[in-house]
């Protein structure tokens, strides 16, 4: 039995000019669930994530958060937008997009400043978040001078500082070294005592079982499966159709050997 409904997407269609990014996607995400949007590049998972964050809106179909429709008109309402932005946080795939402030401190403080919190509260929350994310020593550094792993931690901190109810993550471990990947995964597992709603878009099969208890498989803008991570990962035919595994040929002495190949980082 799941918790109250957090997001509902009904028959969402979205096009980038003539290219269909989402083609009639419907799904429901319950409060407290850790879900994964699994799919190959171009499957529409990043677009869906942005739609859940109210950054783009379906050409047809609907998206709602806790029963309230997420539309451009609704987000024009200051009270709703303020509340929604505090409750839902998105970590972009490319941290350079998200780190636009002169220092790490300013970056983490940006969200709270937009929420018009008091100065004392902002300072306390920013300091606490930087300690949790182990980036306090980077406080005065300009974000463009950080390593890939450090940038990602700052990007996540800049969202977590608002203590959102829902965390949306777009390829959180992309282009990170194994140690940084492991740190990010540990953080995601532990965040909010494992009770918060986390929706992660990824094509990394090795990540799915660690961070999710619910899996949506996407292919070419369509939702093709919804099941537990283990059910999806054990369905070789499904993964092959979704372009997440492929035939791999290599030599064993003089003989050629063929088997399905899975990329797990």
């Amino acid at each position: 039995m799941g918790g109250p409904l957090m997001f509902r997407v009904e028959s969402a269609v979205f096009r980038y000019n003539a290219v269909v990014a989402l083609d009639g996607v419907s799904l429901e995400i319950e409060e407290g669930k850790r879900s994964v949007l699994l799919g190959a590049n171009g499957s529409g998972k990043s677009t869906l994530l942005r739609m859940l964050d109210g950054l783009c809106f379906p050409d047809s179909g609907t998206v709602s958060f806790r029963g309230a429709p997420i539309t451009g008109e609704h987000l024009e309402d200051d009270a709703f937008a303020h509340d929604f932005r505090r409750r839902v946080g998105l970590v972009f795939q490319n941290p350079d997009v998200q780190l636009f402030n002169p220092t790490v401190f300013d970056e983490v403080a940006f969200g709270p400043l937009q929420m018009r919190w008091s100065k004392a509260e902002i300072l306390a929350r920013v300091e606490a978040t930087m300690r949790t994310m182990e980036i306090a020593h980077l406080k005065d550094r300009p974000p463009h001078r950080l390593s890939g792993g450090e940038k990602k931690r700052v990007a996540i901190a800049s969202v977590l500082v608002l203590d959102p109810e829902v965390l949306l993550l777009d390829e959180p471990t992309a282009a990170l070294d194994p140690r940084s990947q492991s740190q990010i995964i540990d953080l995601l597992i532990g965040w909010g005592g494992g009770k918060k709603t986390v929706i992660t878009a990824t094509h990394d099969l090795g990540l799915v079982e660690d961070i999710a208890d619910d899996c949506f498989l996407m292919q070419q803008g369509k939702l093709v499966a919804h099941a537990t991570p283990s059910a999806i990962l054990n369905d070789e035919a499904l993964l092959r159709v979704a372009n997440l595994i492929h035939e791999h040929r290599h030599a064993h002495g003089p003989a050629m050997h063929t088997h399905p190949h899975v990329h797990r980082t």
């Binding site: 950054l55 937008a81 402030n101 400043l113 005065d140 969202v159």
Partner: protein
């Protein structure tokens, strides 16, 4: 391979990145005298000094301010070799080119081909330029860029202007890195010497791609800002607190600025 004008410009800007790195490291030198002064005091005080130097008609008074700038550089642990490389030599070359004709063309008492009045005019131009640029460089080399931006608000610059300036500076680095990577990638795939028309065509195509990338990046950054609650109004956290010693520094700057202007009135 011969470089085009655009490539040379990009390489020149990349060299500017080295200066920015030097400035950042120098501004972090906590044992330096100027590094400990409130950025607003430095900005206002050094601006006053530059105005004083510009208003003064006394070579010795301007020379005294130049010596003061050198003394402050030493006290702030700014390497004079760096100042010579990044400030004094370029200013000497640039201003020297402008001042040189005056040495011969200014009417007055002849000393060979030059005139006394011409030499005096050239000396004024060079010394004023060297002193003013030395002072402004000291400001940059002893103040973190983020603090300098915030301090600009004492000049009553709108917050939105200061924030845009900060973002421009931050993303300039990213676009420069992208441009350099594109040129390196192209050079690694280019054999032999391209004719000028091809070089121009490639350079133009590169500029077009960079423009397109910067447009895409700016759209993404705007989405990232929206996602964290940005609604068109910019808020910043002002953390400066002037101490008695800062007021003393401000007094010193203003007294010297007034003195140099009065002596050279």
């Amino acid at each position: 391979m011969k470089r085009t004008f655009v490539e040379k410009s990009i390489a020149g800007l990349a060299a500017g990145m080295s200066f920015a790195a030097l400035a950042e490291a120098s501004a972090r030198e906590q044992s330096g005298a100027l590094q400990r002064v409130d950025p607003r005091v430095k900005l206002a005080g050094m601006f006053a000094l530059i105005v004083g130097v510009a208003a003064s008609h006394s070579l010795s008074a301007i020379g005294a301010v130049f010596l003061l700038a050198v003394t402050l550089a030493i006290a702030s642990r700014v390497a004079l070799a760096d100042l010579a490389k990044w400030v004094w030599m370029p200013v000497l070359l640039f201003s020297g080119c402008i001042a040189l004709p005056a040495v011969f063309l200014t009417p007055g008492d002849r000393i060979g081909l030059a005139t006394v009045q011409g030499l005096r005019t050239a000396a004024f131009l060079l010394l004023r330029a060297e002193t003013a640029v030395s002072i402004s460089s000291l400001l940059v080399l002893t103040t973190r860029w983020s603090n300098l931006l915030k301090a600009l608000r004492v000049l009553r610059l709108p917050v939105v202007f200061v924030v845009i300036l900060g973002m421009t500076y931050r993303y300039l680095f990213l676009m420069l890195e992208t441009a350099l990577a594109m040129f390196e990638s192209r050079e690694s795939r280019t054999v032999g010497v391209l004719d000028p028309a091809d070089r121009r065509r490639l350079a133009t195509a590169t500029v077009g791609v960079l423009l397109s990338k910067s447009y895409q990046l700016s759209s993404e950054v705007h989405l990232a800002m929206q996602s964290r609650g940005f609604r068109g109004e910019v808020y910043v956290l002002d953390e400066f607190a002037a101490r008695a010693v800062d007021w003393a520094w401000l007094g010193l700057f203003f007294v010297v600025a007034a003195a140099v202007a009065w002596v050279g009135r």
